[in-house]
Symmetry: C2
Amino acid sequence: MLCVAYDGSCFHGWQAQGNAPSVQSAISSLLSSILGSETMVYGSGRTDAGVHALSQVCHFDTRSQIAPEKFALVLNTRLPKSIRILSSAEAPEGFHARFTTMSREYWYLLKRSAEMLPWDDRHVTPVKEFPSLELLNEYASLLQGTHDFTTFASARDPSESKTRDIYVSGWEMTADGFGFDVLKYRTAGNAFLYHQVRSMVGTMIECAAAGESAADFRARLEAKDRKMALRTAKADGLYLADVSYDEEKYRWFEEAYGRKD
Amino acid sequence: MLCVAYDGSCFHGWQAQGNAPSVQSAISSLLSSILGSETMVYGSGRTDAGVHALSQVCHFDTRSQIAPEKFALVLNTRLPKSIRILSSAEAPEGFHARFTTMSREYWYLLKRSAEMLPWDDRHVTPVKEFPSLELLNEYASLLQGTHDFTTFASARDPSESKTRDIYVSGWEMTADGFGFDVLKYRTAGNAFLYHQVRSMVGTMIECAAAGESAADFRARLEAKDRKMALRTAKADGLYLADVSYDEEKYRWFEEAYGRKD
């Protein structure tokens, strides 16, 4: 298993499709050349074009004699700088990067337009002014829990049930490495619908800018109607920040929230 | 006067020279087109190819009726994202971005190789391991003050006197926007010799990795001999972080250190 960070602005997403440059095909073809046999990596899930990863997890099968922890260095030497393998290790028996995933965590980063630095382009989403952090967190806490997220699903989401568990949902003010404010949304859940995080972020930002009450925001969620979502935030500010295979990590959630579905 | 941030990896330095892309020529040619007459911006000093700026200052002369503080927005709309005007203002009478500069501050950023993120390439310099912060700061404090910095000057430095005042010289552990450690050197002085900051950083890093004593490091400085400098650190990690025109900012330095030259 590999823990992979990548710059989404350089790829047409995680998933290999045709000839478009993808992270999956870049890693798979290099592995195939190193191992001397066709090797495919399988990720914890897709990320769209433009979406970054701090910690995507993928796995591959091999009979290679290379020590599992050496793969990070071997791959990094030949991968483009836009893909970095942060660690490699032998996967536990029965592990599958996608099917055994217990939770995914995403971050969404925003900066004030006037404070965008030259290297922020396509890595942070600019907003003219930050809306009220307090109001944003009132909305965010309404999203935590087990809900039908139809309101925030793309029309292209293929899943029958739109019910998902959100374990963590909150906004905080942080800073980039140069001392400028970064408004960060952090959410973790068992799984997310297509475009769900970007739709939640875009809607929260727009509602907060308009000063909408938490009750009105809750009505959007409860309507289970895509027309109640506002803007879908750009891919640029979105990071897949963590993928966890630990069954205990969000055990408290089941106890606190039960299951509604 | 403009306060400008730029991504040094996209330009052949600040200074306009021939057809090589430079920050100075990019801003000057856009201003000339906006103002309808040949306009040149003058910076506080050059930065080499690859060196970034968080806060380069430059000025230009104009009879334009555009309000000074509007120039930032007007320029940002048409400049490439690799150059951002952080602010614009009317310069005080007699101001010259280069000749009235009182101090310049530089940052140098290092990360552990294994923690380099995809967007760190050409913006942070990787080192296998961080050397001792304590030792680095013993060296750094020896560089503070008024010294002949011949040891750390490039052979191409044209200045007759190699004596400069260093007001601030210190290392600290900070973090990037994603929680990874960044080892940062911060130095401010009245002026720096060609490649001086990069030579001081490269030498300090190499000496600390070898565990050299502060006394031996002091001997390098006092030798006033370029052969006593070790590696010149890469341009990638270097940022022009502040340019000050405030005569009072480092007044304490004159009182504390006097002038040796």
